[in-house]
Each structure stands twice: as structure tokens, then as C-alpha cells.
């Protein structure tokens, strides 16, 4: 049986993308798998009694070493902020390529804590900072120093000791450009070094909290129970900075979604499913319910989504247990069709993620194809004709071409870069100043404009001639030819309309990171947790790949 790939007009809608969940394809899971047999070491731990100072953690294999350098500084209560406008943090980190010398550490001590205002070099790969969850950190120190373990329920509600507020890579602020490292096999797959940084930061937070507790009460203090450590991750506050990324990297976006879609297609095409496979699928699905029940948020938007997900999932599990027989042919295809008929998007995508769990043979080869050599697709094929481009637009943007951008509600917002923090923002073009400096992120509107201009041009004209008279549309001409080759490279929605929910764009990216427990704090930023439940560095050699559900 040949199951077609899902229609981009369905998958690439923002409401669908905003319903994606972590899966075996997620970057933090593929990072752990790749680095499980690397040697982990704490090379330096020079903190004072209050936990301030410098620490270095590393992963090593043969001649390759990656070192996380941590700088923990005292921070006044009033200076602690997760907002992007903050200028000081409890801790600052950089992932160093190799083993740092004392000179490197001295240099970085001056630069890394400054974050966006510091200068990094080609020796540094990623950069980040994190703030304590003061309530949780203090509670854990207090408990451990008194010789008792902290309140698990309280910890479960938050899920982390620290949260990062940004993780930078790929040449930002002088960091190494990707071309310098892209051929290293261990970092095939996107954001692998960003994942390494976050993972090692998580270990730093445990070592630091143990260290502070021990110094407070050397005779009585105990270490944080490794099982509790495992249950904690690293929090993250994410704002709109992430949203333009998925618009600005169309081939990369395609490769992420394509990997997911090909996985689903291949799983639906399995004629006979082994009992071990169906049992694993059901086991992961049932265990995962606890991740949903413990999903805390005050966001009405998210609460509604969680409620609907839980209701759909419970009904789906009942159906699986009482009515469905895995001994039939193409069982996953039948399940998928049931889901599309009976469940909401959030549940459909949740179960799609879960279907991948038994199929390492399908998923693992796709992970290596999730990066992109974007420059290869930069040149516009200008020898092609107006008619050909028009046909591409009619084929790939059929619904977008029906949007009327003369209506205020379809043209309500504009994306811009804020001057004070050089971060992307979204604003109402009729209420705010600055729409003349709009970023090229209104793809749907500009595609429609391109179509209108093509429609009054000569069909046989080359794109070269068309562009010589329409240079303002060059950015979308380039995109249209990319979309022709990469079906999942474009969001099939209006990113400037009244109805846009920007956190859907963040959620898409974060689901591929492997984030859990999306907690929208408004329609423009959210908190998440990463690596919650993940094995600790010392446990990596024989870890359970389905740790997310345990």
C-alpha cells in the first residue's frame, strides 16, 4: 500500500504546527543518542560557598572535546529578569570547542556574562544564560542542608532549578560559523550543540545546589537524590525571537517536517505490526498521560488545548484497548484515519509522535537529513518563465491566493526588529509606528502581490526580465522556487492577520527541540521545560530511550 505524504495545505497550517509534540525526531533526544558513549567529565568546579565561580564540564571522544564553561555570579534580587531586556543573569555559559586554557577562561570570564554585548570567538560554539527559580533553588538548598530531600510535589510543579532565556549559536556575537563545524558527524542534525549546552547546564545546576547545601551545613547536608535530579529539567522562556527563524529558513523547516511526514507515511504503510511494536506504542502512549496531567499552565488558551487533548486521548486509549485489533493489516494507517475523523489536531499530532516510538529503523536515518545546506538553494532560476512561476504559485499557495489583503483584518500586523534589543516583534500596523520598516515575514501577502504582478506580465517572459522590473518581489520569487522543490518549507497561513497566534510558531520549533509542557504566558511568549526525566550524564551509557514517558 502506498500512503501519500500528508498535504502541506493541512500540515503547514499554524494551528496544526502549533499542535506538534516532541518525538523520537526531537533534537534533545537525538543528541542524547549520539553522545551516549562519549566520556563525560567535570573538569573544573571552582565555586565559593555561595555557589559563585567557574566550572567546566566536558564530553570527549577520541580527539574531540566539547567543554561547557559556566560562570556563576552574584545577582541582586532586583536585577533578576527573564525578559530579553535583562543585562545580568545568575549564570552565563558558553560551549567551547576543545579544552579551554586558563587564558581562554580568563578571556571568556569578561565576555560571556555580558551575553549580547560581549564578543566571542571562533573557538566558542554556543552561548547562553540562565536564572534561578529562586523559590525552588532556595527550597532545595534548605532541605539538602538539613539532611532531607526537597518536596517532590513542589519540584514537580516547576520542573527545574534554572531556566535559560536564550541560547545562541551559528556565528552570533562572533561565535563560530556553522561552516567551520558542519562536517562533524556527531553534529549532523540541527541544534545539536545547543542541546549539549542545555544538557550540561542542567548538570551544573545539580552540582551547584549540592555544593551550596554542603557549604551551608557540611556535617548534615545530603546530595540531591539522583532520581529527583532526573525528574528535573531546564526551564526556558521563549519569546518571538524564534518565530521568524522558521520563516527565514525554509529548507530547514521543510527537512524537519519532511522527516516527520516520511516517518508517518512509512509507519502507516507497515502491513503487519509485531506485538512488541504495538505493545511499545501502547505502553508509551499510556505512560505519557502523566506528562499531560502534570502539565501546569495558567494560560486559558493552553488549558483548553490540554483538556481537549486529554479527553481525546482517553477516548482513543479506550478504543485501542476495547475495539482495536493490531492483528489487522495496516493497523497504524487505520488508527491514523480514526484519529483524523474522531480527534482534534492536538491529539492527532500527539499520537503521530507516539507512533514513531517503536520504529528506530525508520526514524534514525531521517534524523541525519534534518539539517540543510541552505545556500545551495539561494540562486533564483531566472531562465524559467512567468507562466512556470505562476503555475507554482497556483499549485503551492492555492489557499493563500484567496486571502483578501485589502481587508484590514488580513493585514493587521507587521513584524519588526526592535532597536533596543535587536529582537523580532509583532505590532498592529494601524496603531503603532514603524510599519515602513517591516521585516520580510508577510510571506502570504507578498506571494499574493507576486501573483498579481505575474498575472499582468507576459507568460513567456523569463524571470530575469520579470525581476528587472519587479525587484521588490525578489524575496518571494526566491521562496516560490524553493517551495517548488520543498513542499513543507512554507507556513500555509497569514502571519500578519488578526487571527495569528505567534506562539504556534514557537511551539512548532520547540516541539522539534523536544520541549515538554508548553506554558504560554501570553500570545507572544511561553515557558517550557527541556530534558525533564532525561538520564544524567553518568547514566547515558545504558539509558532507556523512552525516558520521556517513564
Amino acid at each position: 500500500m502506498n500512503v501519500p505524504l500528508r498535504d502541506p495545505n493541512v500540515v503547514m497550517k499554524l494551528s496544526r504546527l502549533g499542535s506538534f509534540h516532541q518525538s523520537k525526531l526531537s533534537f534533545l533526544r537525538s543528541f542524547l543518542k549520539e553522545f551516549k558513549d562519549w566520556d563525560y567529565k567535570r573538569d573544573l568546579f571552582d565555586l565559593n560557598e555561595n555557589g559563585y565561580g567557574t566550572a567546566v564540564f566536558s564530553f570527549k571522544k577520541k580527539n574531540r572535546v566539547y567543554s561547557l564553561i559556566c560562570f556563576a555570579n552574584e545577582l541582586d534580587e532586583n536585577e533578576r529578569s527573564d525578559r530579553v531586556i535583562a543585562t545580568k543573569w545568575d549564570t552565563a555559559f558558553t560551549l567551547f570547542d576543545g579544552v579551554p586554557t586558563k587564558l581562554d577562561i580568563d578571556r571568556l570570564k569578561n565576555e560571556v556574562p555580558k551575553q549580547e554585548f560581549g564578543r566571542l570567538s571562533y573557538k566558542e560554539l554556543t552561548l547562553s544564560r540562565a536564572n534561578k527559580s529562586i523559590r525552588i533553588f532556595n527550597h532545595v538548598v534548605e532541605s539538602l542542608s538539613n539532611g532531607v530531600q526537597p518536596d517532590k510535589e513542589l519540584l514537580a510543579k516547576v520542573g527545574y532549578l534554572y531556566r535559560t532565556t536564550a541560547v545562541y549559536g551559528s556565528g552570533k556575537f562572533g561565535l563560530a560559523d556553522r561552516f567551520r563545524i558542519k562536517d562533524r558527524k556527531e553534529i549532523y542534525g540541527p541544534f545539536r550543540l545547543e542541546m549539549m549546552l542545555v544538557y550540561l547546564v542542567r548538570q551544573f545546576t545539580f552540582d551547584q545546589v549540592n555544593h551550596v547545601a554542603k557549604n551551608r551545613n557540611p556535617k548534615k547536608a545530603v546530595n540531591l537524590d539522583p532520581e529527583i535530579c532526573k525528574s528535573l529539567g531546564i526551564g526556558n522562556s521563549t519569546g518571538l525571537g524564534m518565530a521568524p527563524f522558521i520563516v527565514n529558513h525554509p529548507t530547514l523547516l521543510n527537512n524537519w517536517i519532511y522527516a516527520r511526514e516520511v516517518s508517518l507515511k512509512k509507519i502507516r504503510e507497515i502491513k503487519n505490526v509485531a506485538i512488541t511494536e504495538s505493545d511499545l506504542f501502547k505502553d508509551c502512549l499510556k505512560k505519557s498521560i502523566k506528562n499531560i496531567i502534570s502539565w501546569n499552565t495558567e494560560s486559558e488558551y493552553q488549558i483548553k488545548k490540554i483538556k481537549s487533548l486529554l479527553k481525546d486521548l482517553n477516548e482513543f486509549i479506550l478504543f485501542l484497548d476495547n475495539e482495536f485489533d493490531f492483528n489487522q493489516e495496516y493497523p497504524f494507517n487505520n488508527l491514523y484515519e480514526y484519529l483524523e475523523e474522531q480527534c482534534g489536531e492536538e491529539c492527532v499530532e500527539y499520537v503521530v509522535s507516539m507512533m514513531m516510538e517503536p520504529y528506530d529503523n525508520i526514524v534514525a536515518p531521517l534524523i541525519k537529513k534534518m539539517s540543510s545546506e541552505e545556500d545551495k538553494y539561494f540562486n533564483i532560476p531566472t531562465e524559467r518563465t512567468v507562466l512556470e512561476l505562476k503555475t507554482i504559485l497556483e499549485d503551492k499557495y492555492s489557499e493563500i491566493l484567496n486571502i483578501d489583503f485589502k481587508k484590514k483584518e488580513n493585514n493587521l500586523n507587521f513584524w519588526f526588529i526592535s532597536k533596543n534589543k535587536e529582537e523580532p516583534r509583532l505590532a498592529n500596523r494601524f496603531d503603532e509606528n514603524g510599519s515602513d520598516l517591516e521585516q520580510p515575514l508577510a510571506i502570504a501577502r507578498d506571494i499574493k502581490k507576486l501573483y498579481e504582478m505575474l498575472s499582468v506580465s507576459k507568460n513567456s517572459s523569463t524571470i530575469a526580465i520579470f525581476l528587472s522590473n519587479n525587484s521588490d518581489l525578489r524575496h518571494v520569487v526566491r521562496r516560490a522556487f524553493i517551495v517548488e522543490k520543498f513542499p513543507y518549507s512554507e507556513i500555509q497561513d497569514n502571519t500578519i492577520g488578526k487571527e495569528i497566534v505567534p506562539i504556534d510558531m514557537l511551539r512548532l520549533k520547540l516541539s522539534f527541540f523536544g520541549a515538554l509542557k508548553f506554558d504560554p504566558r501570553s500570545d507572544k511568549w511561553l515557558r517550557i521545560c527541556m530534558f525533564q526525566g532525561a538520564p544524567l550524564p553518568g547514566q547515558l551509557k545504558n539509558y532507556d530511550e523512552h525516558w520521556v514517558y517513564n
Binding site: Y122, I380, T382, I417, A464, L473
Partner: protein, 203 residues
């Protein structure tokens, strides 16, 4: 040291701020990154050009022909460049393409280098007395190595070179003969059992 990613982003944004469309600004970002990779003064020239752009009388060259003369002004290097790149498939049959007066021609160069990759031919670019051999956008050979701003080139010529060997037949034969010394003479029985053995030629 600035990363190439920073060079690309800042060049793109500043070009947009100077009035180019986003699509053209994207091209400039990639081009300045390319110049800097090749150790040519990209940022230096772009910065000077964008700062002085308003005060120069620039002409947009949209349709490239064999002879292009901007007599009373100078061609904008970006618009001339982008159109050269876009139209390269229809220009590659011309033996030589000439331009009179291009402002800041260093900004024109990367478009020509990228065109060399598209047509799969080397291109010889002359900016007055400065010569640049553009090799499929992989490298650039030049008699110009200064990190300086070139404000204008009066006479610009482009020759799209045929794909020809840089050596003669004798040199090739001599080298080939030497390479044969890595081969082993086959005896008759080995020849009989080689691929296709036992088949008739017309089966």
C-alpha cells in the same frame, strides 16, 4: 573578529536601510560574505558606498547588452550586478561584455563570480587595470590585493572563457605515460577471464 553570519546579516540590513528591496539586500548579504571569504574588502566598500550612495548620480542598468555605457553618470554596482547574474544564461554566448563607468565595482564582482558558477565557466573580469579571474565561484585569482575602496571603474570588461585545458597535448601525454607505470601487464589467461568472458559479442 566578526563571523561570516554577522557580516551577512549586517550587510543585508544596512542595504535594506539604504533603500534596496529585501530580495536585493539578501543578495548583497551573501555577496559581502563571499568577498570577505576571498579576503577582498567587502565591508569596507559596502560601507563607503551606502554612506555616499545618496550623493552619487547612479543609473540602474536593467537590461545588460554587449556594450553598456553610463556616460553622464555611473551604474549602480548592485542593480547592474543582480541583473548580470539573472541574465547570465542569455549573456554567456557573447564573447565580451563591456561597461562604461560602474560605481564601487568591488560590489559588482561577487555577482560575476556567482555567474561563473551558474554557467560553469571561468570569467575574466577587468576593472580598469585590475584583473580578476573568477573560477566557478570557488576562488579568485587577481593582481589586486589591496584592502582599499575602489570608488569607480571607468572601463569594465567581462570575458566568459571557454572551458579549455591550461596545458598542451604533449604535456598531458607525458604525464599519462608516467601514470601508466602504476598498471600491471595482464597475461593471456587473465584477459580470458575478465568481465564479459564467455559471452559472444552479439548476444
Amino acid at each position: 573578529m566578526k563571523s561570516l553570519s554577522e557580516i551577512d546579516t549586517i550587510s543585508k540590513r544596512s542595504s535594506r536601510a539604504a533603500g534596496y528591496s529585501w530580495g536585493i539586500a539578501e543578495e548583497i548579504g551573501k555577496n559581502i560574505r563571499l568577498l570577505e571569504i576571498f579576503s577582498l574588502p567587502g565591508i569596507k566598500n559596502l560601507n563607503d558606498f551606502l554612506n555616499k550612495k545618496k550623493n552619487i548620480k547612479l543609473e540602474n542598468l536593467n537590461l545588460i547588452t554587449k556594450d553598456n555605457n553610463a556616460n553622464n553618470s555611473e551604474y549602480c554596482p548592485v542593480i547592474a550586478g543582480v541583473n548580470f547574474l539573472d541574465q547570465i544564461k542569455s549573456l554567456e554566448t557573447l564573447s565580451e561584455i563591456k561597461f562604461k563607468n560602474i560605481a564601487y565595482p568591488m560590489l559588482f564582482l561577487p555577482f560575476v563570480s556567482r555567474a561563473s558558477e551558474i554557467v560553469g565557466k571561468r570569467i575574466l573580469l577587468k576593472l580598469d587595470e585590475k584583473e580578476f579571474l573568477l573560477n566557478f565561484n570557488n576562488n579568485i585569482n587577481s593582481n589586486f590585493s589591496k584592502k582599499e575602496i575602489i570608488k569607480t571603474a571607468e572601463n569594465v570588461s567581462i570575458k566568459i572563457l571557454d572551458n579549455e585545458d591550461s596545458f598542451n597535448d604533449n604535456e598531458w601525454k607525458e604525464l599519462y605515460k608516467l601514470s601508466e607505470e602504476t598498471f600491471v601487464e595482464e597475461n593471456e589467461s587473465l584477459k580470458q577471464s575478465a568481465a564479459g568472458a564467455g559471452l559472444t559479442d552479439n548476444d
